[in-house]
């Protein structure tokens, strides 16, 4: 965190790097469930995001018939982080990742291996195995994981250079379910880019994640399902920037007793 405290001006560039690629925006946006691709495009522009996730499993069909939607995404000029959303086995996830690499020409993949239908909780055993296979095959894996420290260690041993713990179950909008766990993950891996992924419902949740020292936030439903997705995208961008700036600004310490912000010594005593 030393680098951050060295920043002196508010508008100094503060990029974050994933696998050596620097981006200025710390908001990563999913592309599913928007009312239309046109609104998605506007939301992406309003958010200033530079990385969007794209789901392949479902849209791919046969013979790459999802091309027109993917082309719309490519034309936005943002980086694509293909995901393996909906995959439940290591094999499925690996196959989907390979297809993504071919389609989008990127080694990046957001790795999801879903273990349970009601919570869409990651299957962390399958996740570690798939991460190992993909890393060995030259992929740069962004694993969607829990806040579990041991799993995080194993993902890093498997070759992951980014971790993406959940805030809460996908699409739940509950915010940061386990702030202690997320803080402790941050403290254990000070040098690894950490992204809160999933469960974020409000800009304040995203700001809280950033204030904990997280490097970025990835979300989808909170923007896509808002009444006005474009406005919500902008709100999140501002919250994330605010949270990040707060970390750089080095917040005050919390204390138990009041500390007057105005000196009382020498104050005129007003008689009754």
């Amino acid at each position: 965190m030393d680098a951050m405290t060295n920043k002196t001006t508010m508008d100094m560039a503060d990029p974050v790097a994933f696998y050596g690629t620097e981006v200025a925006s710390r908001l990563l946006l999913g592309t599913a469930q928007y009312p239309s691709p046109a609104i998605l495009a506007e939301a992406i522009r309003a958010s200033g995001t530079e990385i969007v996730t794209v789901s392949l499993r479902r849209e791919s069909g046969v013979a790459k018939s999802g091309q027109s939607f993917w082309q719309l995404i490519r034309d936005l000029g943002v980086r694509v982080l293909p995901n393996t959303a909906g995959c439940k086995t290591v094999k499925e996830a690996v196959t989907t990742a390979e297809m993504a690499r071919e389609l989008f020409g990127t080694p990046w993949v957001k790795l999801e291996v879903i273990g349970e239908d009601d919570t869409l909780q990651p299957d962390v055993f399958g996740l570690v195995e798939a991460a190992r296979l993909l890393t060995r095959d030259g992929f740069q894996v962004f694993p969607y994981t829990t806040e579990d420290l041991v799993v995080a260690e194993k993902l890093i041993s498997a070759g992951c250079e980014v971790l993406m713990p959940w805030g809460a179950p996908i699409g739940s909008g509950r915010g940061l379910n386990n702030p202690y766990g997320l803080r402790s993950l941050r403290a254990h891996f000070p040098g690894i880019p950490l992204v809160v992924d999933a469960g974020v419902g409000l800009p304040s949740h995203a700001a809280a994640a950033m204030e904990m020292g997280y490097d970025a936030v990835l979300l989808n439903t909170a923007v896509a399902k808002a009444g006005d997705p474009v406005r919500m995208a902008h709100a999140f961008a501002r919250a994330i920037a605010a949270g990040r700036e707060a970390v750089i600004a080095d917040p005050m310490e919390v204390r138990d007793m009041a500390a007057p912000s105005t000196p009382v010594m020498g104050r005129a005593l007003l008689g009754s």
Binding site: P35, I39, G61, F69
Partner: protein
């Protein structure tokens, strides 16, 4: 709602002066355009590459005339077009019952029901007892729902067959089925053949000239059950796909529809069927014993904003991009198309030529 109606009992002189209109495509857009132009006195011919009308993606439509429900995810213009279209269908074809729509959610998805209510209008909250009154077979299964009393539904295949008959009998519209020359490969829709105006209603096949059209795949199935009866469409809310069940009469139910960003025709996946059947099974376990009569999939034509468009280029008028709203939007769009051609009208809400922002 339908203005300037001219009945087809006109004089020979009028017929000789009539605008000659060639409509390409006999889906819901083509047929409603034929109606709109013919009732304004045009001499209309429809060419269609398939063997009959309504056999493209109209064939797989749900046929819900639900302008208020659609407001949950669609722009206000869809509701506006939908209101006009609802009135149109009630007048144009038989069997368009105004039974309303029911929106339900399993207990775990009640937040989605609240969200639906927040985004829509013209409904009433209904409790378990009221749901049981509306749909006796659902008595005791749900505690909360939304009832939209002013919505209607139709059977798309029957409705388009009835409209086709009416176009032939009342308006002497000529149909040229299995016609060549405008299939997706060579894309020659613009051959006027002596017509004053070509109205291109080819749907996704018009992508050869409308480059910003894309396909959005939808999958559906039809079930038969003698154990359960519904009077009206029921929507089951679900975080990922909204599933609807439309009663088709005689124990048949149409279940739809997925919405997938790709343009492959015909292929139905196991996961999609699992999701559709899961929702219908949650509505009533009797559907677990229902017979699967049909499964199908086709591709909806959509522009990037998922809104329909009229575009005029030379003597061709393109009517396209109806997306999920074919029956809901086509008649209102067709009426506007005819006013563009006859009156030089302009409708900015559906005519901002090349709105692409990509």
């Amino acid at each position: 709602m339908i203005s300037n109606q001219i009945e087809p009992t006109d004089t020979a002189q009028r017929a000789a002066n009539a605008m000659r209109v060639k409509i390409v495509g006999a889906g819901v857009a083509g047929l409603t355009c034929a109606h709109a132009f013919a009732r304004r006195g045009a001499n209309v011919t429809i060419v269609e590459r398939r063997a009959g009308s309504g056999q493209g993606c109209s064939w797989y439509a749900g046929g819900m005339l639900a302008p208020w429900c659609e407001r949950e995810s669609a722009e206000p213009i869809i509701a506006e077009l939908g209101l006009e279209s609802l009135a149109y269908w009630r007048e144009a074809v038989p069997d368009v019952p105004l039974e309303g729509s029911l929106v339900l959610a399993p207990p775990r998805d009640l937040p989605d029901l609240r969200r639906f209510a927040r985004r829509t209008a013209n409904f009433e909250w209904v409790d378990g007892a009221r749901i049981g009154e509306l749909e006796p077979d659902l008595d005791g299964r749900f505690d909360q729902g939304l009832f939209f009393p002013s919505e209607a539904h139709l059977e798309p295949r029957k409705a388009l067959a009835a409209l086709t008959r009416r176009l032939v009998d009342e308006y002497h519209v000529a149909f040229d089925f299995e016609a060549d020359g405008f299939d997706e490969e060579d894309g020659q829709a613009g051959q006027a053949d002596g017509a004053d105006l070509v109205v291109d209603c080819r749907g996704l096949a018009a992508r050869d000239v409308l480059a910003d059209l894309r396909g959005v795949k939808g999958e559906m199935l039809v079930l038969y059950s003698s154990e359960i009866a519904l009077r009206r469409p029921v929507r089951m809310l679900h975080p990922r796909i909204p599933v609807y069940i439309v009663p088709r009469g005689d124990g048949h139910f149409m279940i739809g529809a997925t919405s997938i960003e790709n343009d492959e025709r015909g292929r139905v996946t196991g996961r999609s069927m699992l999701e559709l059947l899961g929702a219908v099974y949650a509505l009533h376990p009797a559907f677990g014993e229902a017979e699967i009569v049909e499964i199908g999939a086709d591709v909806r034509p959509a522009f990037p904003d998922n809104l329909p468009r009229l575009r005029r280029r030379g003597n061709t008028l393109y009517v396209n991009g109806l997306y999920r709203h074919g029956f809901l939007a086509a008649p209102a769009l067709a009426r506007r198309a005819a006013e563009v051609a006859f009156d030089g009208a302009h409708f900015p809400e559906v005519m901002d030529e090349d709105h692409r922002e990509w």
